[in-house]
Symmetry: D2
Subunit: 279 residues, 4 copies
């Protein structure tokens, strides 16, 4: 509500942009925790207008070739309403801001049962899909390892991405992993997440789209399912392993990571650097 | 997918418009059951484009002063995706169609836990709230009597309507009740629904907005809640009864309906008409 | 509420048992659509007691070696409460009935986000898992082809079944497919469903349980995931195809079904029978 | 998994019982955050058995007249499974422990759309409803002020309590408020919560149960709704205010609290005590 507080937030974002320029970055992700926890706590329209006005000031500070991503989330940390609760609000704002603005999809930021792949497809068609925060979830914003609970949903999302990538008007996508790992070694969590993304992408690439389109045109629902599941049931691991090998990577990342004691080495390394910095 | 089938649907809508003109109507509600029940059954982008193209043809046939409402629904009768699943898609389409098009909110057409009052507020602010299908629900599109499960949510929606009505750029709202009644006398269900709407509206009108705004500005969350709940806890029934009396209506609709045996009389009446028509 | 109506229902179930005896059946599945659609419509406690009393009368009529399965469902066709809404109520009743009674799990009969595999595991441990209605869903009781939306959940359920089958005190499970198919040829839907079940079962069988248990004991969460996903990512189709071949079945059921025009032949066959019956 | 860790937890609970005895308490609430965040992380059956075995050791230490409440929660802090996820598991454990054990219902610990009042009714009928953690929520375990989002649900829960209290075999209920208040003065949050509970209770007491039962027996669903809503629509605030006045309490607690600057006085008071303790 308060203009001073908003000005602080705007100034903070501008500062972040300056750091980004210095670091050679070219995009800004805005996720707002703003919202209300009790009915009546704030006015929805005013909150929207304040949010949009502040985003406009930030938008105007963006360097020419930069992009800004508008993230959405239905609840948490606020428990009655969020200022940008869903893709519809994010899309509305991205449109009102301009071409540099697009929507960011965090897989865990949806109400139960949401068809995320449809949102991805429609945003991409409207040139407003900016990128992803990949993770997985069973209940809410659980921030689990990508693909650990709903691998088929991940595949269906990549099916849309592969299918929609011929739309060159949509901005280049920004790929981010946003998982929290207090039960796993964070590096192993990342290795598993990257692997899940590679597999979903590769499986989406081997979908026989010619037959899929024919099946859709003939309303042959069984066949359409056979085509999608056929790609998903294929053991794609040899192919993603080979793709890593070609790039001088490990065939089996987790095993290599453990065998080479990478974690231990990295901790040692960090120790050295900290000491040299200290000097 | 098939152009012929779409043309039939378009022709049907045009025919409906003609009947509407003959009957003195001035609006068309489009609720599409279209969608898919299995992954891969259809292409989301193509389905969107076909839907929009068809709606454009219908839109172009609308008489000058008519409006068209785009309804949305997350699932059922299709169980994987709906062509217009949420308010975001409905808003996108209404925008792409033009000024005569706006969004229709059916209270039962949302995923679990959706904050409907926020959607209502934002659509109204964007001049795209066309109207309502009022009903209530606990699980899905249950089509229950208005206010029978979540009366406070109904009040919060009316709070937004009363607050947003100063926006004269939003179209006049269309009010519809869309409840299914196979367990109650349908007339009694309607009487209870209308009563619930009158009470929610009247309670929203007695909210002390001056204090509410002050509380919001001071971030006095407890007071904001006191103000809203104070209006909701007020027994508004004498006021709505008096409003009915002034208009020559019944003080207690259900009791009057039963005492006067209206149902029985209507059935008799219908019998007569049927016979005379038969002759 | 009404005793006469309950007596009719009881008599109907007894009649069904008689037919079952004549047909050589050995179990009865009870799914009750009973419940309420509006708050206050009935008394929860009384509904429970009436349901239990009626089930007891039916239970007493069961032949010695028969079993009765108590199915549960959270909503639909009633929209406020169901008499047996969840596994807890089903379990309570099965316990109060006796050893012949156990719980039936329909995969689509759960509230959003339910961990079904945990329910399966716990019921099996308590000797009260009677069987399944297999299907798949995205929103509610969608009755889709098994495995078409959540194949990994199906695999996790079979993981529990394989792991729990050493409990010989649990009754032999009854396997039923309960999918609705108005968009697919019903036979093809069944072929796809059976295939999905075979794959989930086979993949659960190849889980390296020794390593899984070690990982669990060492709290090596990453490794536990690797083990489960390793089995699930394995292309098990050659193995299930071979299993079919050994039993003189088709390697690729859908293809064979289409190539051999089984549907057409069956319709012809049915035509003949109908005619001869007609004579 | 680890026996040593479980023994620590058991020892901790026994210590808590000792403190409770010293303080004159007579009950122990067990809420377990245990569970798993990734599929495969632990074995459901083993987790259940370990949990039950530990609870048995604690149970055996309970003084004669003590009670133990088993709380359940579907997710958070674990995101794949909880050891006691639902009322069914809690009930199963309470039964296996013995008469001193019963179930604790936290209103925020349910999956979306759960009919909580039915759970309350059935547990009470089975003599296993131990008490409540009152709060309110819109999405998950939001821990909001009681009655601030779903006041009608609260009323329906009290309807069951009033109706079921003639069952003297159910233990005396323990009433707890479990709300989190980082946006409101915690004292004001509590005052609002207590007020909401008093109102729901008083409104449940004025339900005309004779007519309600008649309506249920006649399957007069409209009338049953009129009876419930009639009680809920009644402005009960004068009655709860009078009840407070009789007990020498404030007519309007929040106003009195603010007018008398209770918070400020309490802080001063605390300051004094802290100082004297310090000396």
């Amino acid at each position: 509500v308060n203009k001073d507080v908003r000005d602080q937030a705007i100034a903070h974002n501008k500062e972040v942009i300056d750091y980004g320029i210095a670091l050679g970055s070219d995009s800004l992700t805005v996720w707002l925790s703003d919202g209300t926890t009790f009915p009546g706590q704030a006015n929805f329209r005013q909150a929207y207008q304040h949010t949009l006005a502040s985003l406009k000031e930030i938008y105007d500070q963006l360097p020419e070739e930069w992009k800004v991503f508008i993230e959405y989330k239905p609840f948490e940390p606020n428990f009655y309403s969020m200022s940008i609760p869903d893709w519809g609000t994010s899309y509305m704002m991205a449109n009102q801001l301009g071409e540099k603005a697009s929507c960011l999809v965090d897989l865990g930021h949806h109400l139960p049962n949401t068809n995320i792949e449809q949102i991805v497809a429609i945003l991409m068609m409207q040139n407003k899909l900016g990128g992803f925060h990949f993770n997985d979830n069973k209940y809410a914003d659980d921030d689990l390892t990508v693909g650990c609970v709903k691998p088929y949903q991940l595949f269906l999302i990549f099916n849309e991405l592969v299918d929609g990538m011929n739309n060159t008007n949509n901005p280049n996508l920004s790929w981010m992993i946003d998982a929290s790992h207090n039960l796993k070694d964070p590096m192993e969590d990342l290795l598993q997440s990257v692997d899940a993304i590679m597999m979903a992408y590769a499986q989406a690439l081997i979908i026989d789209r010619k037959i899929l389109i024919e099946a859709q045109q003939n309303n042959d629902v069984s066949l359409a399912q056979e085509v999608l599941q056929g790609a998903f049931r294929t053991d794609i691991r040899p192919m993603t392993a080979e793709a890593r090998r070609i790039k001088q990577g490990a065939l089996q990342p987790i095993s290599a990571y453990r065998y080479l004691k990478v974690r231990k080495e990295l901790i040692k390394e960090r120790g050295k650097k900290t000491i040299s910095t200290g000097l």
